[in-house]
């Protein structure tokens, strides 16, 4: 199972230029307004790209040169909307039954009942979408899609309509369901935890373009690009100058670092994760001035500047567990492997 697409669409003030090939579960990760959902809508046939092609398992869904543009009805691609888009005038049973094309009433009924049981919707099968919980609505929407046996499923921010305390449970449920699904899955999210939990591969989307695509775990370990580092949650990002292959200069810190690894000349930022900083035993360690201490439920978020750091530059974030003493921190440092070297994109 695999898919590939290369599409362009001009929205006037916004340009969508996406070029992706992947298989398995892919997360499209990016800030809101970056073009993730638009990409998904193009795959489903809800929006028509100006040019390019979309292919799923070798089947062409769209090709502007060959003038192919299958209507959504013929694409056999399941789409789960952010709001789940259950039909309000039909109950759970009817909603699920709509996704299944089968003339024989007995076979159809059996299949719908099987699906309802599989998704644990027995108790609500006669209820209408307004009467069921967010989790039940999500399961209904998934059952409605999967009953039609689509070649691919597209999930548009599947957890954004849910309360925070429900999310983890449903994310795990979703992971379980997706693990039994044969086709490819594209998950659109702006939440790095969701992407990390659910997808084998992640593609970072920024300003309507795909920045980088890689194995999810690899990408979080080494984002390589500025936008990828930001969306992966890296708090401390500073512009640098590459002096030579092993020396960089962090302008805001007014510090030169000598690294063992080779630094490409197109590296223009470094990132250091807030939890990577430590008080001792680090290669690059400098005295600090604490600016502010914020208390979060289970951690402290400390903002500081290095001595000699430019006053108008951004504070550095340091995150540490609450059981640690934080009153007498005088220095903080990081190792070479804590440094993310980032290209500007």
């Amino acid at each position: 199972m695999s898919f590939s697409l290369k599409i362009h669409k001009d929205f006037g003030s916004f340009q969508l230029n996406v070029d992706i090939s992947s298989s398995g579960t892919l997360a499209l990760l990016g800030p809101s307004g970056s073009g993730k959902s638009l990409t998904l809508k193009c795959i489903a046939g809800i929006i028509k790209p100006d040019s390019g092609y979309i292919e799923v398992n070798g089947r062409v869904l769209f090709d502007s040169e060959k003038r192919i543009n299958l209507p959504p009805q013929e694409r056999n691609v399941g789409y789960m909307f952010q709001s789940y888009a259950l039909f309000p005038n039909m109950n759970v049973y009817q909603n699920i039954a709509l996704g299944y094309k089968e003339k024989d009433k007995e076979i159809k009924k059996q299949k719908v009942v099987d699906m309802i049981n599989l998704f644990q919707l027995e108790k609500v099968s006669n209820l209408y979408p307004k009467q069921i919980s967010g989790g039940e609505a999500q399961r209904t929407a998934l059952a409605r899609i999967l009953i039609g046996n689509p070649e691919m499923i597209l999930l548009d921010e599947p957890f954004s309509a849910l309360d925070e305390h429900l999310r983890t449970k449903l994310e795990l449920e979703m992971k379980q369901i997706l693990s039994t699904y044969q086709g490819d899955v594209v998950l659109v999210t702006h939440n790095r935890d969701e992407a990390y939990l659910l997808s084998g591969n992640t593609c970072i989307i920024s300003h309507g373009e795909n920045v980088v695509i890689d194995k999810t775990k690899e990408l979080f370990k080494n984002p390589r690009y500025l936008s990828a580092a930001i969306i992966s949650g890296c708090k401390n990002i500073y512009p640098i100058e590459v002096i030579d292959e092993h020396n960089i200069f962090i302008t805001d810190f007014n510090k030169k670092l000598t690294l063992k690894q080779k630094v490409d000349s197109d590296i223009s930022y470094i990132g250091i994760r807030a939890h990577a900083l430590k008080e001792d035993n680090k290669t690059f360690i400098y005295p600090i001035n604490i600016k502010d201490i914020e208390e979060e439920p289970f951690e402290y978020l400390i903002r500081f500047k290095y001595e000699g750091q430019k006053e108008d530059s951004e504070d550095i974030y340091y995150r540490t567990r609450k059981d640690k003493k934080i009153t007498n921190i005088t220095q903080l440092g990081f190792d070479e492997e804590d440094i993310l070297l980032l290209k500007d994109k």
Binding site: I46, Q73, Y79, A85, F87, K130
Partner: protein, 224 residues
Amino acid sequence: MNLFPLFNSLRIAFFASIIVFFLGLLLAYYVRKCPRIIKGILDVILMLPLVLPPTVCGYLLILLVGPKHPFGAFLDTIGIRFFMDWKGGIIAAAFVSFPLMYRTVRGALENFDEDLVFAGRTLGLSNTYIFWRIIVPNIKNGLIAGFVLAFARALGEYGATSMLIGYNQYKTATISTTVAYAFNNNDGQTALIWTLFNIIISALILVILNLYENNNRMKQGAKL
């Protein structure tokens, strides 16, 4: 007492509101999809009957279906006559009440979640199925409100109707033209009786509409 005006008014309002129901629904649906400029122009044209004086509407309809004008003459040759005929009342009432249905459906469609249509398409449902089984049921309240308003307006239509079909107490008289005719002929009693008739029917329609809306509100509030 001659009850023909009551019967005639009801059948005219009934047929007119049926026509307006489907026409308003389809036009509201298709105009909404038009490019912005065309949509703006069509919106103005389709809403005009609401703000034009009914006599002007009536005159426009005479220009269209009057026997001295090309289209009306053509209709005459195939035996269809609207001018000075009760069937013309349907046209007059439909013309004048159309904007009420159109506007109400437009409003209902604005509130309709477009994602339901896209969801239907990705599930393989035909556009016809989506329109009648998903869009229509989910804007039902707007459709009913529009229908009732159009019916009430059609029932009370006077200006365009009197221009187009005149007054013949056994052939074209409606409640409103009867009231006007009786008043003009110093028959205060008849005018009063028909006035009361009209008030009762219109009030009944509004009561039904309110009951329906209350009923719906209670249903929607009910969570199991």
